[in-house]
Symmetry: C2
Subunit: 193 residues, 2 copies
DNA sequence: CGCGACGTTGATTTGCCTCAACGATTGTGG
DNA sequence: CCACAATCGTTGAGGCAAATCAACGTCGCG
């Protein structure tokens, strides 16, 4: 039996922002006007290679992944996004260029999403969000640097152990094949660890 | 004979900002008050592991590198920064935590640098810079994602060729040993390509 | 039920590392 | 100004970590 995903509210996103910095009632109202809930069913696409990435997504429930497919047909996962994570192809979203990445749903997933137009409007109406989103991306930049360092480091075992330690809740939910595609190693090798 | 590096001015940074978004005279004045020139001699450290990263640096002339040293003593380079590039340990700089990274000079290097206090003051005085630095970090995030993808991809040859194509001016100036440490492969193997 | 996705294990191959030796170049101090 | 050390690039031989290819069992799902 599926969970009930038809209930949607802006609350999780407001809670999330509140943890970073308090919002005035007026600002909460702006957020609720500029974000819309949307349900993506398992295996459905949020973004397809070649399209412009139209939305910035905040995951309320479920799990998405962003990935690229190389010339040999191998899938490389750049990012997972479970509850309270953001996911979008930043370059494509802000520059409105065609994306080389894909985003799809590993599970039935509820997001709160905003468009480029709505987000820039929000920046104008409440400049505070410029700072919030700057901090968000700074944090994910730091995380990405850490990941790159581990990836460059010698053995494949270390990045794997680090992943299941850093994201224990994720490594339960996600098939090993997906984790392998995230780490850049083969599923067979993950199995041998 | 060494180039004359004693001349320092805020001009290159103002030029840089102007290319992104026009600045009012008042804003230019604020920038020149909040950034200071500084010369780092070859092999001198801008940031040492264990210290808090005190400065955000804009390279006017020369070249810096940011790197980590792993438990085996191997050096892994996260980023080079030549003319018109920014370099800092973002996490350490904004959170004022001890850094696990090092930054040093590959050549005599002139930077324009600002402190956390000066930068936050600048954000307050001219909120426009929130947006500017949000865009800067978005761009470097996109670049980092691209690099991670290439690194995960199978052969070591592709990342190398991509590097010398993307940064031809850098690959002339920088020893192959440094490029190897950036790509996560051995100098010997770079030589065989 | 039967198909497809997933995980496991084994045998073989290979890309890259490690270790080592050797010129060429740079730069540094006596 | 020369001698010596340090840095850099190159090449060779050998070894290992992880990929590849393949076969098989399990599970969930249409």
């Amino acid at each position: 039996m599926k969970k009930d995903l038809t209930q949607a509210s802006i609350e999780p996103l407001l809670d999330y922002f509140e943890k970073i910095i308090p919002l005035a009632d007026e600002e909460e109202k702006l957020v609720s006007e500029r974000f819309q809930p949307r349900l993506y069913r398992k295996r459905h696409y949020v973004l397809q290679e070649g399209d412009v990435c139209k939305h910035m997504n905040f995951v309320v429930r479920g799990c998405l992944r962003m990935f690229a497919i190389d010339e040999k047909g191998n899938t490389h996962i750049l990012q997972f996004a479970a509850e309270n994570w953001w996911i979008t192809d930043i370059g494509s979203f802000y520059e409105r260029k065609n994306s080389k990445l894909n985003i799809d749903a590993l599970e039935d997933t509820m997001v709160l999403q905003t468009s480029f137009e709505n987000l820039t409007a929000l920046y104008d109406q409440a400049p505070k969000f410029n700072r919030i989103f700057r901090v968000l991306i700074e944090n994910s930049h730091v995380a990405l640097q850490k990941r790159l360092l581990q990836n460059i480091s010698s053995t494949a075992e270390e990045p794997y152990l680090s992943f299941i330690q850093t994201y224990p809740q994720l490594s339960n939910r996600i098939p090993q094949t997906q984790i392998a595609a995230y780490l850049g190693i083969t599923p067979e090798f993950v199995s041998r660890i």
